[in-house]
């Protein structure tokens, strides 16, 4: 059975190889091939899943050792896979949502002449992401980690002719690289501490290591997670990443890749459990990002950017939960899965809207679309209800649990975190309602563009709606399905461990509070955008709004400090290299030239001058001999 694990990765990898090297002759069948191979991977995943359900206890964990990757004295890195419940969850999410989005893309990318390449990249992403979650050691995980980074780079910049897209792609890769730096340092630390970086030994022997080392490792892992999951302070790339085609945003920048950070922290739970300081930092980062993303999401008029902000904030929830330790891991993953469903659905909905609106992304130019594209409206609406945590839908269960767990952290921390999560829930309700209202309600606000062709909003083709419907179903029922009888908790417990945190307040109270803030958020949004007509051009807005529109100025900070500073640094260094380092060399050469030129003057050709030097030489010689005598 375990030999199938490699197949999970092999299928999409093969697809990528064929599609990217295949050349134009594959253009007609390329997208089908890509989708097929993604589906194959999904099927294999399902097979493995059913097999796993058949087993029990430790038997559920499968290992597959392919070959020794980097065998060097005292350094063993293997190409080996580990499939346990945690990985399984991700496998299903990735391959499942992945396949759906492949199908969606068939319609969405219909008019793009480089569609084959697009599917090649998508397959490459699937392979890398699966490698990430299936690796049984950190180095192999690192390979997948950077692999998804590459795929995301290629897909964000898929429309390379747009400079903005190319820049966004570069930015995403670079920011991720900073995170990767953290991951590699973490691996090095593991190597010096444990002499290995395979999951088993490292996580098994955290007890013997000093807390200092573990904290350091934890913080480095967190840095990596921040990069990949767009957490403060490395969140700046996610908004720009929306330059990519919408299916990409749905798959990579909502459902799967950006959640890799959560996976990493959950996977390294043993380390964090033994390093409370690191955990605290994780929680703080999560909380901050939660609010940060939410606030940004409130201000954006670009529908995708608004959703991106929401993604950031939701992942903030997950990171926060993961930072809570055993009481939170499970719910982090659970929210991750449900979020995977509804956020993917939302993005696909947004894509569908744009598809019908000539790729217009400004929500202020939408309005009243519900009668033009009913399916999109319904699916999007379900996703909306799910994310704001409407009772009974997925978001409700997963977010509620996280809020509980936050309170259950105990002490003032618990209260603060609880408050933050509640506040986050309120803001979420607000900005999602805003999106909803701006897009589907109110009167139509779109005009013909300068070329005079007004958008004719229409429902998207079947290949796009079906995935949306399926995801909507997922976002409606997944939460409930997981929560009934704590299925999900029991499923993951053997891997991540779990103990129920006793909140200072009863679960019912928490739920009640959540409901209250939910209603408040929605109401406020309705007051602002539902009642009175929305101006097409955005009003200047308050200081906070304007800051939020600019990602709370974090980008400007980066630009001023890092980009400008870096440019100056490099330019001055180039100058230094040319004048100083090289100048020394050239100076030496020049001085030699000058000296020889001056010496040349002594050769004036007059016999008497030479005679003088001869005479003087003789004198010197005599002097020398005399001195020798004297000595």
């Amino acid at each position: 059975m375990e030999n199938l694990i490699a197949l999970l990765i092999a299928a999409p990898l093969l697809g990528a190889a064929v599609l990217l090297c295949g050349g134009r002759r594959l253009d007609r069948v390329g997208h089908w091939l890509g989708t097929l191979l993604a589906a194959v991977s999904f099927v294999v995943g399902v097979v493995l899943f059913s097999d796993m359900l058949g087993k029990s206890g430790d038997g559920r964990t499968l290992h597959q050792h392919l070959f020794s990757w980097i065998p060097v004295e005292g350094f063993q890195a293997d190409i080996a896979f580990q499939l346990d419940q945690l990985s399984m969850t991700f496998v299903l999410l990735i391959t499942g949502v992945g396949t759906l989005i492949h199908i969606y893309s068939i319609g969405y990318m219909e008019h793009d002449e480089r569609r084959r390449r697009f599917f090649g990249y998508l397959n490459l992403f699937l392979a890398a992401m699966l490698l990430l979650v299936l690796a049984d050691n950190y180095l192999l995980l690192y390979m997948g980690w950077e692999g998804v980074g590459l795929a995301s780079y290629l897909l964000i910049g898929f429309w390379q002719h747009k400079p903005s897209a190319a820049t966004a792609a570069k930015k995403a890769f670079l920011v991720n690289r900073v995170g990767d730096m953290g991951l590699s340092i973490a691996i090095m630390l593991m190597f010096t501490t444990f002499g290995t970086f395979a999951f088993g030994p490292v996580l098994g022997s955290t007890g013997d290591a000093t807390e200092g080392k573990l904290t350091a490792i934890g913080l480095m892992l967190l840095l990596a997670a921040c990069g990949k999951s767009a957490q403060v302070p490395l969140q700046s790339w996610l908004g720009d990443a929306m330059e990519g085609p919408t299916p990409v945003s749905a798959l990579i920048h909502a459902a799967t890749m950006v959640t890799a950070g959560v996976y990493l922290i959950t996977r390294s739970g043993a380390i964090f459990n033994a390093a409370p300081d690191a955990q605290l930092v994780v929680v703080v980062v999560g909380a901050v990002t939660l609010l940060f993303g939410a606030i940004v999401g409130c201000a954006k008029d670009d529908i995708k950017k608004a959703l991106a902000g929401s993604t950031m904030s939701q992942i903030g929830y997950m990171i926060l939960a993961a930072g809570l330790g055993p009481i939170g891991y499970v719910f982090a993953i659970m929210h991750l899965v449900t979020h995977g469903f509804f956020k993917a659905g939302l993005f696909l909905g947004a894509g569908s809207v744009m598809h019908g609106m000539n790729d217009e992304v400004d929500m202020r130019k939408y309005g009243g679309l519900r009668k033009y594209m009913p399916v999109t409206f319904v699916t999007f609406g379900l996703g909306y209800l799910a994310i704001i945590g409407f009772p009974g839908l997925s978001g409700f269960f997963s977010k509620d649990k996280i809020i509980e767990a936050a309170f259950a952290k105990g002490g003032t921390e618990g209260w603060i975190l609880g408050a933050v999560t509640l506040l986050g829930a309120a803001i979420t309700a607000f900005y999602m309602t805003r999106v909803m209202l701006l897009t589907f309600f109110g009167e139509k606000r779109w005009q013909p563009d300068e070329k005079g062709n007004a958008p004719h909003p229409h429902e998207s083709p079947r290949s796009m709606t079906i995935p949306m419907i399926l995801l909507a179903v997922g976002s409606v029922f997944a939460g409930g399905f997981f929560s009934i009888g704590d299925r999900f908790v029991h499923w993951l417990e053997p891997v991540t461990g779990y103990h129920h945190g006793e909140a200072p307040v009863s679960a019912a109270t928490v739920t009640g509070a959540t409901m209250v803030v939910l209603v408040l958020g929605v109401a406020l949004a309705w007051l602002m955008y539902g009642r009175k007509p929305v101006p097409v051009t955005a009003p200047r807005g308050s200081l906070l709004t304007r800051a939020a529109r600019r990602d709370l100025l974090q980008d400007d900070f980066n630009h001023v400090v890092l980009v400008r500073g870096g440019e100056h640094l490099t330019r001055s260094l180039v100058y230094v290299d040319h004048t100083l380092v090289d100048g020394v060399v050239n100076g030496t050469a020049a001085s030699f030239g000058g000296l020889s030129g001056r010496l040349r003057k002594l050769q004036n050709g007059y016999a008497r001058t030479y005679a003088v030097s001869m005479f003087g030489g003789t004198a010197v010689l005599i002097a020398a001999t005399l001195l020798m005598r004297a000595v």
């Binding site: 070959f67 005292g74 340092i185 010096t192 013997d208």
Partner: protein
């Protein structure tokens, strides 16, 4: 005695060089094919060497030894250890691609502009083969004097390759190109000659002290204690050797010749410089500095590590600041050489294995990137990054290969440079954590300069001059595809290489009497 395999690997290209040079100018293409043929034959011989070499066996294998200048105990001594084999294979592997890539670089320039002087096409290829012969022999030499001779001799063909066959594409026009080129060539020559001079003094000094040039004899004598150098003597000799190697390598602040040399010469020659000839420097650090002067090496380690660190960061930053893509790649190479030297002097088995792998991988990756860049430059006739844009739209395959080469340069996992770079980092980190951490900054900067280069040249709206640019031709694909395949293969399955290298590294480690630092925790299985 058995067939002198090692000698053959060096003699074959030398013969090829003579034969190629002898081809009459009229039969130009014949010369090209002849050169290619000889380089391939050398590759075959090198493969035989790799096969015949037993990783577990004696330290130096396939040894040959004949008296040469008996008065000074100079012997013609050859022998390869794992490191030598790896680099020998790399050299023999790269040369055919270099020749193939430079197929038209030495054609007479009448087509470009008629009043340009005639260029000796067959001379170009003959010189390349000559360089190959010398480099291969220098990887095999186990006699210090013999090595020194080759170390110096390979400057001559390189000088003519750099100065004589410049890049057709030069921003400043032909005249400026000529002056720049001669400047670069002279600079290259002078730098390396100064280094060689100092090394010569050290070589003589070594003979005075040890009374022999034979590496094995000296190492033996030192091990048995029958030869003991005064600390100061050892240090001076070490510095003498190291300086020459640091110039060749090149290590900051002795690096300034490399950008000029690589910028002004044609892409294949640039590959020859950075991927083949410079490797002799780092290789010699491993073989001579560490083996002959272990104590001094340890003594100098802190300074050298700092210099290597500077090279890494400084080279990367300057690469970011370059406007000329070949100079950019040159500075990137400086940064990478910093990694190699750091790995060597970290004195851990991971570090040194990593460094050796790094030499090989860097050779392949730089070759890939530089050659594709060369194809690009020959198409557009400019080396300035600003003159390009949107190439990806008109020449997707070229852009793709360029991207892969770039990703290899920024050592993306899955491509071979990652393996070596990570080994170097881990090896350094385990003994000098701070140095290791600072070095990781290089990873980010590498991403920066590679992606900026790719974005400015390949993406964005298509520039007018770029329109109608042809995609890679078959010949060019034949050059690039195998390199990329190799990068992928060695990135996922570097085992064959590590198996050859590891024993040699163990020997070196025992030479310097160093053992890897132990992990704090004995991890549970």
């Amino acid at each position: 005695m058995s067939f002198p395999l090692l000698t053959a690997t060096a003699v074959l290209p030398a013969v090829g060089a003579i034969a190629t040079a002898a081809v009459p100018a009229a039969r130009r293409s014949a010369a090209k094919w002849l050169a290619l043929l000889f380089s391939l034959a050398t590759l075959v011989l090198a493969a035989v060497v790799v096969v015949r070499f037993e990783p577990g066996g004696a330290r130096y294998q396939l040894t040959e030894s004949h008296a040469w200048i008996s008065d000074f105990g100079v012997r013609y001594e050859l022998g390869v250890d794992g490191i030598g084999v790896a680099l020998l294979a790399l050299t023999a592997l790269l040369i055919p691609f270099v020749i193939l890539a430079g197929w038209h670089d030495a054609d007479p320039l009448e087509d470009v502009n008629p009043n340009r002087r005639w260029r000796p096409t067959q001379g170009f290829f003959a010189l390349i083969l000559m360089v190959e012969a010398m480099v291969i022999l220098s990887f095999e030499a186990t006699d210090v004097f013999l090595f020194y001779i080759l170390f110096e001799a390979m400057l001559i063909p390189m000088y003519f390759l750099i100065g004589g066959f410049g890049d057709r594409a030069h921003a400043g026009g032909d005249e400026a190109a000529a002056t720049q080129r001669s400047y670069a060539a002279v600079k290259f020559l002078l730098y390396n000659l100064v280094g060689g001079l100092i090394m010569l003094a050290a070589v003589i000094g070594l003979y005075v002290v040890a009374g022999s040039f034979s590496l094995s004899e000296i190492a033996e004598a030192r091990a048995s204690g029958s030869l003991s150098m005064a600390t100061s003597t050892e240090r001076w000799l070490f510095l003498g050797f190291f300086f020459a190697f640091a110039v060749k390598a090149p290590l900051w602040p002795l690096h300034t010749w490399l950008p000029n040399a690589m910028g002004e010469s044609t892409a294949p020659v640039a590959v020859l410089i950075t991927a083949v000839v410079d490797k002799v420097g780092t290789f010699a650090m491993l073989r001579f500095c560490l083996q002959l002067f272990p104590e001094a090496s340890k003594w100098a380690t802190p300074v050298i590590l700092v210099l290597a660190l500077i090279s890494i960061v400084y080279g990367a930053l300057l690469a970011v600041g370059q406007r000329d893509m070949k100079r950019l790649i040159a500075y990137a190479s400086i940064s990478h050489f910093g990694f190699i030297i750091m790995g060597i002097f970290a004195m851990t088995s991971q570090g040194q294995s990593g460094a050796t792998l790094y030499m090989v991988n860097h050779g392949i990756s730089t070759a890939a990137l530089m050659l594709v860049a060369g194809f690009l430059i020959t198409r557009r006739g400019s080396r300035l990054i600003a003159d390009y844009g949107g190439v990806q739209k008109v020449a997707p395959v070229l852009a793709g290969t360029f991207l892969v080469g770039g990703l290899a340069t920024l050592s993306l996992p899955g491509l071979s440079p990652f393996v070596s770079e990570f080994l170097v980092l881990v090896g350094t980190f385990s003994r000098y954590p701070v140095v290791g951490i600072i070095a990781t900054i290089g990873i980010v900067l590498a991403a920066l300069y590679v992606l900026v280069l790719y974005q400015r040249t390949m993406t964005g709206p298509v520039k007018a001059e770029v329109k109608g640019m042809p995609d890679l031709k078959v010949r060019e694909l034949v050059v690039v595809a195998p390199l990329i395949a190799l990068l992928l293969f060695l990135g996922v399955y570097p085992k064959p290489l590590t198996e050859i290298v590891n024993p040699a590294v163990e020997h070196t480690m025992s030479d310097v009497q160093q053992t890897d630092p132990k992990p704090e925790v004995e991890a549970a299985p």
